[in-house]
Amino acid sequence: MLAPKTFSGGLHPPTIKTTADKPIIALPMPDRVILHVSQHKGAPAKTILKITDKVACGDKIAVAGGFVSAPVHASIAGTIIGAGNFMHPMGVPSQAVVIERDKEAHMTEYNYEDGLALSPEEIKQRIQESGVVGLGGATFPTHVKLTTNDTSKLDTVILNGAECEPALTTDHRMMLEHPDEIINGLRLVMKVLNVKKGIIAIENNKMNAIELFDKKLAQDKEIVVQPLITKYPQGGEKQLVAACLKREIPSGKLPLDVGVVVLNVTSAAYISYGVNYKMPLIERTVTLSGNCVKNPGNYLIRLGTTVANFIELAGGLKDDVPVKKIIMGGPMMGFGLFDLNVPIIKGTGGILCWDENEAAMPGSTNCLRCGNCESVCPMGLQPQLIKKHTDHRNWEDAFRLSVMDCIECGCCAYTCPAVLPLVQNMKLAKHMIHQQSIKDRKK
């Protein structure tokens, strides 16, 4: 095992990974799915079917709406019974297609074909068609990461198995249960990019996964397993590259600019399915946990299943513990849900159902100028100073203090003794600056 590495800044929230030893259970298919055309970063996909059209499982229902976009596939076989604006988990109505399941429909069969024998272009084509995006939560379309005019600078592919978010365990279970698919996915990507060095980076609170990959890759000359010191936000793309290779991605740049491509481990597994079996991304693993849940665990669920339906299929909520907060994603970066009828999307890694105690947050006081936010910020920002400007809606000065570099990890707000909404204000500032720049462009 290599010596563990890490980045500067960050902190250690409680891991609360209570579901780490729960094997992935495939849940039954839901009767109805809501498939949003915007489940990824970039342009929304364009629907190509209309109401009453029949679809088989895995049929494409929306094509990529641009280069930085990904297609969406039917996750169950059935009939399209609705299309239009439905609530997106992010809190805005957005275009979606509703499919009702046809219980008699045949299972779609996928045939194996060795993806590594294909040409790099063919592999990339299949990845693009499978609709795989960054499944760690960022949902950046994978094929875009694999497209570069200049592969000469490119030398490393890093698989992100840090899973630094507290409570989430899906990547951990995927690594334990599907290591071969993950390694195969990495090899496929390395072939596309003509890169000879692969790193599987795993936080050292998942020793069983590190040991498993160490064993599987003992004879391998191209791929190494890099343990990482457990620290949040170790799984942030920029932090991960800094930890593994001591390379800093400059502001506004991508890992490509420092010769690296970073992919989530679960994405790698679905790349393998997408290329070897031509199976599109129609399902994903989701951690269900929290004090209100009857059967916490890791579940394989069809995309588009509503949160209410998912919780029910997985055993439901406890009757005697009232739920106070439902989070899609992890406690540090996930978003609080306002409605249980929103669907599971490609980026959903977890559903946390918290009771009163788990959801309780202390009240705010004045800033004490303690400097904690500054010392934990992995991007070297000054959250307390930025907040002074955002409090006065002074977006220009917030911009001057590089608020756009904020990765929204939430370390500042987590550690603030005054419990100030630091990262929350920075998100607002980023949004306002973004809106302003769109307005300026139109002028």
Partner: protein, 343 residues
């Protein structure tokens, strides 16, 4: 089952932006743990100065808490936040910097103005530029200089005496004394310690020497500081650079190790360095900023002790450096990720 009543569930859901968890380390928790760290100092103060110390401590705390309560309730019209322990902390810190024999009403006034002028006048917790306890002390020193510079030896009989620093200062001013000392081959420091009948270990433990009720025992300060350090409430860049500056400066100016150790152990250097300089609100944020801040405090302390009109300079040095904190913070912004500054 959730399907039937999910609309009801959705209605009572709490929807907030991430993060959804907090470290649990809140302002009140920090303040109360600093109060706990002061217990050894309070114990030593009461052990040494008995009833005098108790009077000063209670009067000062009462002044601080009443000011906090009254101003928040009647002036700002907010819910008084006495429970966060910050007014109590200011009261205790001020009391520890006061001589044992001052009348209770002066200590009360000190606590009151420390909060009123040192903290609430700026807008309350976290807004003040200067250390509130030291503002209180500075105002008292300017208003009642005689009371503020009368000292007693610990013990029941309360014999008037001078603090080690004041005695040393007077000795160094006395040309005739210095001449007779150099004939007998003794230094002014040795003369001071001999006359006051104290050793370095007395000065370290806080036994039998005059001074403010909280500044005599260095070991009590260090125990409290160790607790705060372990709990992660203080960083040691500023205190260590301040203490080192005073120590090295005294060593090179006096050209004498005893002179340097004397300055290290005398007066309020330790309590100032570990409890005042480390005040989050009035100290810089960055590591380098804190080092500079500590060095500045050390230099000004030495200047006042050796060249100034007062025997002790910790209080004013910290107040002066407090004024520079915004500038220091501007100088040392943290290195942004991606600019090559991170290592």
């Amino acid at each position: 089952m959730i399907a039937e009543n999910h609309a009801a569930v959705a209605k009572r859901l709490m929807v907030t932006s991430s993060p959804h968890i907090h470290s649990g380390l809140t302002t009140a928790r920090v303040m109360w743990e600093v109060n706990i760290a002061l217990i050894p100092l309070l114990a030593m103060a009461i052990y040494n100065f008995r009833f005098y110390a108790l009077t000063v401590i209670f009067a000062s705390i009462a002044g601080a808490c009443i000011a906090e309560f009254a101003i928040q309730k009647f002036f700002f019209k907010t819910k008084p936040a006495l429970a966060d322990g910050s007014a109590l902390l200011t009261g205790i810190l001020l009391a520890l910097c006061l001589p044992p024999t001052i009348p209770a009403w002066i200590a009360f006034t000190g606590g009151f103005v420390a909060i009123a002028f040192g903290k609430q006048a700026y807008g309350g917790l976290g807004q003040n530029i200067f250390n509130p306890a030291h503002i209180g002390r500075a105002i008292l020193l300017a208003s009642w200089p005689v009371y503020m510079t009368s000292w007693i030896k610990p013990g029941i009989d309360a014999v008037s005496t001078a603090t080690p620093l004041a005695f040393l200062k007077d000795s160094l001013k006395d040309a005739g004394l210095l001449a007779s000392l150099s004939e007998s081959g003794k230094t002014a420091v040795e003369h001071t310690m001999l006359t006051l009948n104290i050793s370095f270990s007395d000065m370290f433990l806080g036994m039998g020497l005059a001074g403010s009720i909280g500044e005599t025992s260095k070991i009590a300060v260090l125990i409290g500081a160790l607790f705060l350090f372990i709990r992660g409430h203080i960083r040691l860049y500023a205190p260590i650079s301040m203490i080192l500056t005073v120590f090295l400066g005294a060593y090179f100016i006096g050209n004498n190790l005893n002179f340097a150790i004397f300055h290290l152990l005398a007066g309020g250097l330790m309590i100032g360095a570990f409890f005042m300089v480390t005040d989050m609100v009035t100290s810089p944020m960055s590591r380098r900023g804190n080092v500079l801040f500590g060095i500045g405090c050390g230099i000004i302390t030495l200047l006042i002790r050796l060249k100034g009109g007062y025997p002790e300079g910790v209080c004013y040095s910290i107040l002066i450096m407090n004024a520079f904190v915004p500038l220091i913070d501007k100088m040392f912004a943290p290195p942004k990720f991606g600019t090559g500054g991170n290592k």
